[in-house]
Assembly symmetry: C2
Homo-oligomer: 360 residues x 2
């Protein structure tokens, strides 16, 4: 019987999916490239081996109600709201403490809730392999490494060292180094070397091992998190969260913890992975028509090619245009070039600067 628990990180706001994503409806709550909202798909992807009862979700306080409604199989108290985002170290550290309270012998996997991973069966087999690896290496933290298919410059890389063993048929290695987001030439070199994977923010660990690492590397945070975890389930939990959480150091678990460990492991994950980073991701996630257009929602395209179309609560009609991103929502429409990754962020910034806050 698996002792796996899952921590789902669901705190982001995702301005890159404006106008579909809004302050009140962040990326992870949207069905991007599929039928289910990304968070619901992440939870369901786990559920055959980690049922909702063993999932803990960390999200923004303002999304707690929406998340509880979206994930009815996760006990409501296991959906925890951050009064303010402090990056991943406080969030994962707290969630690990909560899992420890649920089951002192748990093994945790922690992951973002807004990525797409396929095929799901293969993904789950690797989670079970990670569990076996951590039973053999109880003090280690394991990082999953996505097998790169191109020299991406937008992700950090994981360099693997010697194999430490094979678990459920999957080789697990020493993690030799975290490599910062590389430039193009470095990324090409890493790919040629063949011993690097992408760091996608997927981890596995025993809560006690993670707590020990925090106590050594982030002792103040460790003690604050222990106090918060102790209050969990009491009436004053929310008040303590409101008082304490915003005072925690804002730091990622990579910088704050992972990069300083000398006994971390890496498990290569040979899956199709997408962090759904911008509208153009739909070109990878959806099947294109014969003219290279991808569409989610209702659309009518005449004489148009290479477009990315999202129509929510309405129809998008295109004629004679190429290589555009067109996103319709009832109160706002976006049109930009497909190759203009920065465009949406700049528009959201400009909306903020102009005080058009009702559209954010």
């Amino acid at each position: 019987m698996s002792r796996l628990f899952a921590i789902l990180m669901a705190g982001g706001s995702g301005t890159r999916f404006w106008p579909a994503s809004r302050r009140s409806r962040p990326k992870q709550l949207l069905p991007l490239g599929g039928d289910l909202p990304l968070l619901a798909a992440t939870s369901r992807r786990l559920s055959p081996i980690v049922p909702g009862s063993r999932q803990v979700v960390i999200t923004n306080l303002e999304y707690v109600d929406a998340v509880r409604e979206m994930l009815p199989e996760v006990p409501p108290e296991q959906v925890v709201g951050e009064p303010e985002g402090r990056d991943t170290a406080p969030a994962i550290g707290l969630a690990a403490r909560l899992v420890e309270r649920l089951d002192a012998d748990a093994i945790c996997v922690a992951m973002p809730s807004d990525h797409v991973i396929r095929p799901e069966g293969l993904f789950r087999e690797h989670l079970l392999a990670a569990e076996l690896a951590l039973e053999a290496h109880p003090a280690s933290v394991l990082v999953f490494g996505i097998e790169p298919d191109h020299p991406a410059t937008g992700y950090g890389y994981l360099r693997r060292g010697a194999a430490v063993g094979e678990y459920a048929g999957r080789a697990v290695h020493r993690l030799e180094a975290f490599v910062e987001k590389p430039d193009r030439a470095t990324a090409e070199s890493l790919l040629r070397q063949g011993d690097h994977s992408w760091n996608a923010g997927l981890f596995a660990f025993r809560p006690a091992a993670l707590a020990a690492a925090y106590e050594r590397l982030l002792p103040e945070m460790a003690s604050a998190l222990a106090g918060l975890a102790e209050a969990w389930g009491r009436d004053d939990f929310e008040a303590r969260m409101a008082a304490v959480f915003p005072t925690l150091r804002r730091i990622s678990i990579d910088y704050g913890v992972m990069e300083h460990l000398d006994d971390a492991l890496v498990l290569p994950l040979p899956v199709e992975w997408d962090d759904v980073g911008s509208w153009t991701a739909l070109r990878r996630l959806l099947e294109a028509d014969e003219r290279g257009n991808v569409v989610e929602g209702e659309a009518l395209l005449l004489g148009s090619s290479g477009c990315v179309v999202s129509a929510r609560g309405g129809l998008v009609a295109l004629r004679g245009v190429d290589d555009l991103i067109v996103v319709h929502t009832p109160d706002a429409t976006l049109v930009c070039r497909r190759d203009d990754d920065q465009g949406v962020k700049d528009l959201v910034e400009a909306l903020r600067a102009k005080g058009l806050l009702s559209y954010l």
Copy 2:
């Protein structure tokens, strides 16, 4: 005291302004290029010399309620619904009969309700000149001629002959001939000749003179219209309209009447006129920003030029795109090239063919 009455033709459906125009919300009820719906602007443009109490509006039966609400100064019974459009001859012929019942000595101006005419004062001065001309020539029909500023191929032309007199300082001429929509070379030649104006469907006449012309040229229609006008104000008017109107010959007043008159007059109208024929008309009606974009409604444009944007009930955000038409409505968004005049019609046809009727 002026005896002018006005007939406003408000029957069109205007698919070229999809998705702003719909079956239930045709072009003339939309505020295109201004603050007021085109019909309301047409009514208000007249009102200093022809108050609402002396205006008669002919529209589709299904728009009657909306028109009455939009034009509270027009008595409700003077908003008449056609059970089915039969082109302009039946509509203007009926309206002229109704005006005759309101005032046997009336002089009528008849015009489309979905054009833009500026400046308004100059326009009204010419209506008063037409009234004076018709007092001097009571049996004639007068056609207003728009002074062409380019060799348009989309309008019919009016050739003027000798002046018959000057009224309120404006020369009125014999109308020598209607010229069909010309090809480009012919249009250039007409412009060089200097004695041709555009036929914009603006007429002035005494109802008795028009009735006489119908009796001679369209005798069956004349008698049917006389019967309908007699029923106006009675309980059976609507039933008679439903029974009789759809049986009338479908013909324009130009083909059916005007072109056969030998004593018609033409009054050149030196105004800025626009028939608001497609979304690109907004480029003539609205002031462009420094990059040549025109916008109605709320929009945010970054690095974009030459675009035509209409945002109704929401915001349009563009970045890095050029020469597009982008129209947002809450349930549908249109994107096409600015030079693609046919695009909107083709999209509407395709929506119909696909059975996406809720968007029409």
